[in-house]
């Protein structure tokens, strides 16, 4: 029964907690792999139409869109997912999906 209650005890933390040890840092790739659960393998979209691709725009579009999800009130699933991401995370993700070179 105790275990059950825990599921409802939600720890409200608004960004990924950074622990004291530098070793504990989570990598941007690890975050991105979770995004790809909806955005397809490598974030390249779903099916032939590449629906939901997050690789087919550009760096700035990505940052603007993510910032919009974070600041604008909307009932989109993206609004709920970005709450834990810091500004640095968003920039990191933009660099990950749109590597410069």
């Amino acid at each position: 029964m105790k275990n059950n209650i825990k599921i409802f005890l939600l720890v409200i933390i608004y960004t990924f907690p950074v622990y004291a040890d530098e070793q504990d840092r989570i990598s941007i790739k690890t975050i991105a792999e979770n995004c790809n659960g909806c955005h397809g393998y490598d974030g390249a979209g779903v099916g032939i139409k590449k629906l939901y691709s997050i690789r087919n725009k550009n760096y700035q579009y990505f940052i603007d869109k993510m910032t919009e999800y974070k600041t604008k009130k909307n009932s989109n699933v993206m609004n709920r997912l970005v709450t834990v991401l810091s500004k640095e995370d968003i920039i990191g993700l933009a660099n990950y999906y749109y590597p410069k070179n």
Binding site: I26, N34, G37, Y52, T83
Partner: protein, 420 residues
């Protein structure tokens, strides 16, 4: 305190103290066997293929086709064909994975051997994602035999179609009983989504009916949303009886069509969907890999406690705050594949972060979801939620329709990624 310290030590040993390390050479071709080609296992396969070039990769799966549990409630709700939930392993075979269709009987972890029906297979590393098993003693009188006529439909597949046929043949004023299990169980919102979609179907057929959910719990996931939606879409048709209001069911009488509550009261019905309490897959206990209901794993590497060369993901594990879902299994499996590679080659272990999003439909075009990110606590001995967020209760019909569509997009994304 002692055991806690021991556990931390065990967690750390999974990360640092890897004995094979010195022997790993550049041309080393590890033999990795994955048991269970469901959501967890297929994801591990996909990402081991991606991460390790020189690999002897074997998948052992007992069924020729995989029927997803996600969207099986849509079949029960009468708006999805069961064949749309069916995936073959042909593409995984085409990608070069050695797929063996067989039922694993026993895992001999000491000798790193897997016993199949008529043969044995050895491994260097083993990954398990065999799903759930049922606690058949949780409802007296409900057993594997009479569950054939009253399918649980908790493993995808044909059972969902049988349930649908039963619902389709119900007369007017039918009384339907759903028995919801205690935590932890596969897909927390599924019993309540199922109630909605049965109601959706019967309402469309213009039938009068009553669905009674007898629950072992006092709360459930997305409860506020579900209660709100029941009132809005199916007024007076779905009744939820919580644990403290007497919802615990002790017994089932299949011959006379009633269940007996803890209070002794009989509740008669025209349709029963009894969902027993759950535990890890039978394979885990047959192989004596866990003394508890769920596998105890290292939350960073997914190494099984006391069995260093075996990793476990998905519904079979105790994942602390993470619910048992396909999304969770997928998220865990990616970290497992990454850190298994790191263990094999002696690389730095990656810090995990996990995500889950569970969509539920309350009608064909009426969806909502709950999401949460997870990571390990600072002691790295458990997975903790960073806070769940669900769709607002006051969303418009258009927004609900959009989320329903998005659930289909998620489904095609994950199934295409894994099975194509």
């Amino acid at each position: 305190m002692r055991t806690r310290r021991k556990f931390i030590k065990y967690v750390l040993s999974g990360i640092i103290g890897f004995p094979l390390l010195k022997g790993v050479r550049a041309n080393y071709k590890p033999k990795v066997v994955v048991i269970g080609g469901g959501f967890g296992g297929s994801t591990v396969i996909k990402y081991l293929e991606k991460y390790i070039e020189n690999l002897d990769l074997i998948l052992i799966e007992k069924k020729k086709n995989f029927y997803t549990c996600p969207f099986s409630n849509y079949v029960i709700g009468g708006f999805r064909d069961i064949n749309q939930n069916k995936f073959s392993y042909n593409n995984i075979i085409r990608r070069g994975v050695n797929v063996i269709f067989d039922n694993v009987k026993f895992i001999d972890s000491e000798n790193k051997k897997i016993q199949l029906n008529n043969s044995n297979i050895s491994y260097d590393w083993l990954v398990l994602s065999p799903g759930i098993g049922f606690k058949w003693d949780s409802i007296i009188g409900f057993n594997q035999k009479n569950s054939i006529n009253n399918p649980i439909a908790w493993s995808g597949g044909k059972e969902s179609s049988i349930l649908f046929k039963k619902i389709n043949s119900l007369e007017d004023n039918a009384k339907l009983i759903i028995v919801a299990p205690d935590y932890p169980y596969r897909c927390p919102p599924a019993p309540y989504e199922r109630a909605c979609l049965i109601a959706h179907f019967l309402k469309k057929k213009k039938k009068k009916f009553k669905i009674i959910i007898l629950d072992k719990k006092d709360s459930f996931t997305k409860k506020e949303l579900f209660l709100h939606v029941w009132k809005k879409l199916y007024p007076n048709s779905i009744e939820w009886i919580s644990r403290s209001k007497g919802g615990i069911v002790n017994e089932f009488n299949a011959k006379e069509n009633y269940v007996v509550l803890k209070s002794g009261q009989k509740v008669f019905g025209d349709f029963f969907n009894l969902i027993p309490d759950q535990k890890a897959s039978d394979l885990i206990f047959n192989s004596r890999l866990s003394s508890q209901d769920w596998c105890q794993i290292n939350p960073v590497t997914f190494a099984l406690k006391n069995h260093n060369n075996i990793h476990v993901v998905g519904d079979s594990i105790n994942a602390w705050d993470m619910p048992k879902s396909a999304f969770s299994a997928y998220s865990q499996a990616k970290i497992c594949a990454e850190n298994l590679k790191n263990r094999i080659f002696g690389n730095k272990i990656e810090q995990p972060v996990f995500l889950n999003t569970c969509y539920s439909l309350a009608a064909e075009n009426y969806g909502f979801s709950i999401s949460s990110w997870y990571r390990t606590n600072s002691e790295q001995n458990r997975i903790v939620s960073l806070g769940s967020k669900s769709s607002p209760t006051d969303a418009s019909y258009a927004e609900r329709a959009r989320e329903a569509r998005e659930s289909y997009d998620w489904y095609s994304s994950i199934t295409q990624e894994l099975f194509s």
